[in-house]
């Protein structure tokens, strides 16, 4: 009988139940919630599903996140800590992005810059709540609505916040259609929402080839700390527009992008063991993230209204597209279009809104670079 009990006890000690504590179970709940949102509500499933499963794995007692040998630790270490995956995602995004609307209407670049105002407002909000400058910068950048940039910056400034900030950024991105419209409507008049913009001119192939080259030179000369992101982004875009390396461009957009998205998601999720996640700070970060999205939207809309003061009749921009400076591509552009068509159903803002939208991607990367230049 004793022998039998010994065997049972030995077996029990090799199992993981002893090392489980209530926090882990709470984290399972969060993982299940994210899995539910991804599958049932279609909230950024490509990212939230892997992240959620990463959360689940790291909250099961095992050595999967053990420094030096755990599988997810290795993915995390080489992928995010070394900041390899976010720039590679930018390579893919570059290869997917058509800069035509920006080239046809370069004024929209300014709107992409304005939306970064929300990043800085949130930065001060986070400081006021007692976060350090490096943490506040990471939280602020959520307002750029750019997952890879958020992960890139937090790896360098505040690695302990990476998981939370990434989840906040991706879940709010999915909620852009809920967060943005009230802000947009509050700040514009019916008449402004009805402004029809004159059609975009056709952009030639050579202009599109010049764009990534010029962008890389200008941005990296002014903000060398954004070189990794912007460099890859522009390279990806040049592959697309050159038209001679379709295979590489497709690989960057599809195979490479898909593979690194898997690694990124699951290992970002793995940065969220219960000890790290279950703190009051996390609630602050979610609140601040929402503030970041709303203020970024407001800054974009307000700058568009300000620019209208100087533009001739017929050249005026619909202030709604300013909201698309929040770089959730293309969700924010769709929201601008939708709110515009509610005011005037024959108003087609979608393509116009793509200008500030893709400019916002550059803007957020630049803002991240500026944070790094002062804080790293």
């Amino acid at each position: 009988m004793d022998v039998f009990m010994d065997i049972i006890m030995n077996l029990w000690s090799t199992m993981a139940f002893d090392n489980l504590y209530w926090g882990n179970v709470v984290m399972w709940g969060i993982a299940f919630l994210l899995i539910y949102l991804a599958i049932k509500k279609d909230y950024e499933p490509l990212l939230l599903l892997p992240i959620a499963f990463g959360i689940l794995l790291v909250n099961l007692p095992s050595d999967i996140m053990k420094e030096g040998s755990g599988l997810l630790w290795i993915l995390y270490h080489y992928g995010e800590e070394w900041a390899i995956i976010p720039p590679l995602i930018f390579l893919g995004i570059g290869a997917m992005t058509d800069f035509g609307p920006v080239i046809a209407n370069p004024k929209t670049l300014l709107l992409g810059a304005a939306a970064q105002g929300g990043v800085y407002i949130t930065f001060f909000g986070a400081l006021a709540l007692g976060f350090t400058a490096a943490e506040a910068a990471t939280i602020g950048i959520i307002g750029g609505a750019d997952g890879p940039t958020t992960i890139f910056l937090s790896a360098k400034l505040a690695p302990h916040l990476m998981g939370v900030c990434a989840v906040a950024a991706y879940s709010y991105m999915a909620m852009v259609p809920i967060i943005q419209p009230p802000v947009m409507k509050a700040l514009t008049t019916e008449k402004e929402r009805k402004i029809r913009m004159k059609s975009l001119r056709k952009v030639s192939k050579l202009e599109k080839i010049f764009f990534p080259i010029i962008t890389a030179i200008v941005v990296i000369l002014i903000v060398p700390d954004a070189a990794a992101l912007i460099g890859m982004f522009c390279f990806g875009n040049l592959m697309r527009e050159s038209g001679v390396v379709e295979r590489l461009s497709n690989a960057a957009q599809n195979e490479l992008m898909n593979i690194i998205t898997i690694f990124l998601g699951v290992s970002v999720g793995a940065t969220m063991p219960a000890e790290v996640f279950l703190t009051p700070q996390v609630i602050y970060i979610f609140v601040l993230g929402c503030v970041a999205f709303a203020t970024a939207t407001a800054c974009g809309v307000l700058l568009a209204k300000f620019m209208n003061l100087f533009l001739k009749e017929g050249e005026k921009i619909n202030p709604l597209i300013g909201a698309a400076g929040v770089s959730a591509v293309p969700m924010a552009a769709r929201v601008a279009h939708k709110v515009g068509s509610e005011a005037d159903r024959k108003n087609y803002l979608l393509m116009h809104a793509m200008g500030p939208n893709v400019a916002g991607v550059i803007g957020t990367a630049v803002a991240a670079g500026m944070f790094l230049s002062v804080l790293k």
Partner: protein
């Protein structure tokens, strides 16, 4: 005679009218897809559809003539 031009670049995913059918101003005539979003195109004025210049699945540019009205 009037024409219905495409208000934006996109792909035609549905044609809601037929040749010979009469349409009212602001009727939906075609659905365009761009950025995975369905955008209805409305008739600028009433008339009878004389010719449909596009087919389902075709990509159109902004300003391209979609339908000729009589």
């Amino acid at each position: 005679m009037a024409v219905i031009e495409s208000p934006m670049a996109g792909k035609v995913i549905e044609i809601l009218v037929e040749v010979g059918q009469s349409v009212q101003e602001d009727d939906e005539v075609i659905i365009l897809e761009a950025m995975k979003m369905e955008n209805p195109v409305y008739a600028p004025e009433g008339g009878v559809v004389q010719e449909i210049k596009v087919e389902v699945g075709q990509k159109v540019e902004e300003g391209e003539v979609l339908i000729v009205l009589e």
